[in-house]
Amino acid sequence: MAVLAHLGIHILETLFFIGMAGSTIVLILSAIEDIETLADKGDSH
């Protein structure tokens, strides 16, 4: 049971940090897009 729990925790840790690495890329790429969106003053309301 303890082995299974440890395995589960390691799987969760691994997936979380993979996800975090990918999310950082999402954050950077969307931030670049955000700057472009803010710089584009056309059609503002």
């Binding site: 303890a2 979380f16 993979i18 975090m20 999402v26 790429l29 897009e33 955000d34």
Partner: protein, 783 residues
Amino acid sequence: MSSPNSQPLLRSDRVKIVVATSVMLTFISYWRAAAIVLNDLASSAFYACGIAEQAVGKSAPWFILGVMLFSFTVRAVYVESCSMFVRGGVYRVVKEALGGTLAKLSVSALMFDYILTGPISGVSAGQYIAGLINEIFATMDAHRLIPGAVHALAGGTPHLNENFLSVAFALAVTIYYWWENIKGIHESSEKALRVMQITTVMVVILLGWSVITLLKGGWQTVPWPTPANLHFSPEALGFLKHTETAHLLGLFGILIAFGHSVLAMSGEESLAQVNRELAHPKLKNLKRAAIIIAIYSLVFTGFASLLSVMLIPDSVRAGYKDNLIAGLAMYMWGPELLRLLFRGFVVVVGFLILSGAINTSIIGSNGVLNRVSEDGVLADWFRFPHRRYGTSHRIINMVVILQVLTIVASWGNVYALGEAYAFGVIWSFTFNCLAMLVLRWKYKGERGWKVPPNITIGKTELPIGLASVFLVLLTVAITNLFTKSVATVAGVSFAFGFFVIFTISEQVNMRKHALAQKQMKEHFQLLQSDTVEREGLGIRRGNVLVTVRDYNTLTHLKWVLAHTDTKEQDVVVMSARLSQFGAAAYDLATEQIFSDYEQTLFTRAVSIAEGFGKRISLLVVPARDVWSAIVQTATNLESSSVVAGLSSKMTAEEQAFALGRAWEGAAEPRRQFIMQVVLPDSTVRTFRIGPHTPSMKNEDVLLTHRLWLNLTREKGLEKLHHHDILTEALTRFAHDYAGRDRDDILRELRKITGLPLTGPPPAISPITTTGDKPGDSPPGLDS
């Protein structure tokens, strides 16, 4: 213009109903959209860090900052979901991606999120108010300002029980908004914008003053978010606290701490709800709103959390766990009175934003359950309109009863409420992200934007970004299941309860709806149209638009049919299908717009028309605001008059005023028309909507004439006209109104109308109390 997209005609004698599929909305700017979302999202700043610090220790602000940065990516998922052109409610869209069972669970989690928003906001606001009152008592006592008798009576410094007061406050505000929602209040983006403007003033003062305090008085360090610096409370480990795992927390501790901070981004889901109302260009404005929301919440929630731990001494911070920003105000650099005043301002802002969140939670829950009911997974019984106000009172009652029970059960414990709330927030985000991920393969329609990066290998596109966000959400959601025992028990019980209700309702509805669908297909032919256009619908200019809502009160339709020759003038019967804020993430599907209620309503309308032997056209339009929908429809159909029955909650004048307001707010080109309100005794009140020549009282006509007689005797004014006198009089009036005589003018006008004026009145004018036929105005009054 778009013409109706006809479906195959099964029987030629079926009644045609045009169902407009685009919602008649008054569009809002991205600033207003951002304000609406921030009213929900920024309210988390008042309690998120206090809860997180109790769970994980002094490093909590770093995790809150991390969550706020991560919320940028969750925002991206919502932008992608909004950029997809899909119809149907939350249930239908998730069902398409994940199947019926997961869709029901997803809606249950969303409901848990919405319902918990009310209690946590109300209790938190109550804690801020109680904390301020106690602080004032303590300050007064320190300066010996409390009378001895009061001191003796209280057995020391007077002190209120914060938990009792916060529960009482939360109950009072919840019950207040329950009644407002039963009556059907109209939510305005203006109010949200004002609240956010006041909040921004507070945030600017808070951050500016904090910087001065840091420079003047120094600060405490906030430990870095490393496993060694995490100090979990026993409650924060949930089911793991008695296991060996609790002693083995390494990197897993980071994951647990992140899970305890995730409620800082609660409210992000509201972004989807405002999407449909954004002005053109929709996607660009959605992105702009999303940027404002993300930056604002990062600065407010993230930095306020960090500053709280830096500036409030460790020895006293626990005393401010439920009102951390108020505590921050008290530990600024400066005189005590100024700090106390600022704390009062923080409490006022907290009251405004958190009370608004209670209302948003009732509206949101009502909206989601209405949509779920339209999707056939909640019995129609819940959606039955209130006899007087027409609102879905049974759903509102159910939501508020659940909220009241939650408030009482929590007994003012913000931490327990926050833990439970986080369950709904994280699972709601996870299901939404999973649905978006699956729809990358299943949905082949229009999609305006995708979460980056996406890598294409051969013909397969791999959604790396979306999958990454999903992995974080899923792992946090699973971890929370084990570490938030109260939330897991409460959330799973709640979700299971709703799941059972949805499943049973779906089975019952499936049989009932199959029969209703068959009857509907026999009697009605639904014609789908993107927008309402006169030529496309085959309706002549100058038609009469009759608004209907309650099938028990169709007297005004009978009056119209009795007074109209339908060979000369078309009669269009219109029903607005209202969807409130909180239910507007996706457009409705045609069969959702024309539900069983509309079927009953139009069946009655058709039978009345058949009784008169006259033909009517039937129209259903989805709308957020009924008055705007009427104005837009009347304009598009070039109607000469709009006829309505008397509202159960407004006078005829108030109805005309509301329609006039909507007319003023409508986009150009606008058309003037007549509004007629048919009273239950069949007398008619008629109003002109839009600018028009005013009806003049006889004595005013005589006065003008007398002035004209006198003035034409003056040298050089022999050729003066009556209208020249009016022009001069009005020009002088406008000059005086813009100048120093404004107050006098308003006082005089108030004497005449007998009412205080609130804002600019719309261009309406009552012109008669009877009418021979729709659109008729009495002779002699047309100026």
